[in-house]
Subunit: 247 residues, 2 copies
């Protein structure tokens, strides 16, 4: 059992994980962040495998990433992660993305719930894991970016549609959290990524979608370089919402 | 400089890298194989960065993967890679995919060319890197799977279309080799992956495609569980061909 509050994991920006500008893609960074969350929790006794044994599962509710810059192709970087807080229904986990010298490239915040695998109802984190989780709370480590906020799309226009395919589906039979990120960024033209970079990116996950679902992506411009996106299933149920701020 | 002929690289099947059956996806395995090729070549003085300095670049021409089974979620595995042969215009690089105990899960073969970055014409590998590459030839290590063959699609039916988007494009401005694999496997219904597994998978890359290209996927069934796929650009030019054999 690892007793360090902060976990640190090394990475390198692989050639097929960078976009046409030679920078790591947001989807790949998101995947690394979620893996680090998994490693950190597993090493400390409250990881996915452990909670699955008790018929619970961790569910990612929100993610916010804010970056000075993305790692470049072949660049070594590392991700630190720690638990900031534990509440009854949610826990906040933060991240720092560091260059090889240990300087911050950016930060991320995530919010997780635990649900009962059968009833799909939220579990009481304090009752179930209060002791285990609390031992790792690291409230004083700075994460100087805003918390993930509430995203509302009022006057969105349909910017794209996507039918969920084999490659979208994870081991739970749901469209995987990372694929939403890729599909959302694919709504923007190449020119956007050529002239600007993503400064802040947020995801709020609401409901699962499934193989064969046609996802509709509604986008609303909320500022010069800011966009809110709502992803709906055929049933009109919201699967997730996202905020993208370019710079 | 590493003088071992065989390079070995450790991996773990990450949660977002497995499909709904809990097995590593072919796209992710392909990415790992190509990364291992890169690591092995880089450590031995003939990697992408080194050849780019001389205005050449490595181009993947063919890939064949044959597996007893795919690694399961969270399973540790490793990939060995070595150079089997060097010819004037091509070099053969092989791979073994091993479980944690070192038993083979499968093998892969790849064929690479080197091209001049400006003229895009093939380079003479023997003249340019004969000495460096030949020192690492390891012709006696077994790779007990068939070589990638010639794929011809005569009576294909259009099985899908895809417009190349931001997430498809690599640092060279081309649709990335791994994305073709994902799009090709997305032509098959979920049911296929539920009831069967991919025993052998081949890719033959012909021409680059670009952002905005509409790719047309023609598929021909060539046996009970065997399919040939041809991917064409709007211009009717063939971007790549693939063979998928289920089991």
């Amino acid at each position: 059992m690892n007793t360090d509050k902060v976990g640190t994991y090394p990475f390198v920006a692989e050639p097929f994980h960078v976009d046409f500008t030679g920078r790591l893609t947001m989807g790949v960074l998101g995947n690394h962040l979620l893996n680090c969350a998994g490693f950190h929790a597993e090493e400390r006794g409250f990881g996915m495998k452990r909670v699955n044994d008790s018929h619970y599962t961790w569910v990612l509710s929100r993610l916010a990433v804010e970056l000075e810059r993305m790692p470049r192709q072949y660049e070594k970087f590392s991700i630190e992660t720690w638990v900031e807080n534990v509440y009854r229904l949610f826990t906040d986990r933060n991240f720092a993305i560091l260059d090889e010298a240990g300087n911050p490239l950016g930060y991320a915040r995530s919010v997780w719930a635990m649900i009962d695998m059968e009833t799909r109802k939220p579990a009481d984190l304090i009752a179930l894991h209060g002791e285990g989780l609390s031992a790792y709370i690291c409230a004083d480590k700075p994460c100087p970016i805003g918390k993930p906020g509430r995203i509302k799309v009022k006057n969105g226009e349909v910017a794209g549609r996507h039918r969920a395919q084999y490659s979208d589906i994870d081991v739970n039979g749901h469209v995987n959290s990372i694929k939403y990120i890729e599909h959302i960024l694919d709504l923007f033209p190449m020119e956007m990524f050529r002239t600007k970079r993503i400064r802040r990116f947020e995801m709020a996950y609401s409901a699962e979608s499934y193989y064969g679902d046609t996802l509709t992506f509604c986008r609303e411009q909320t500022g010069d370089d800011a966009y809110d996106i709502e992803v709906k299933r055929d049933t009109d149920e919201v699967a997730c919402r996202s905020k993208v701020i370019f710079d």
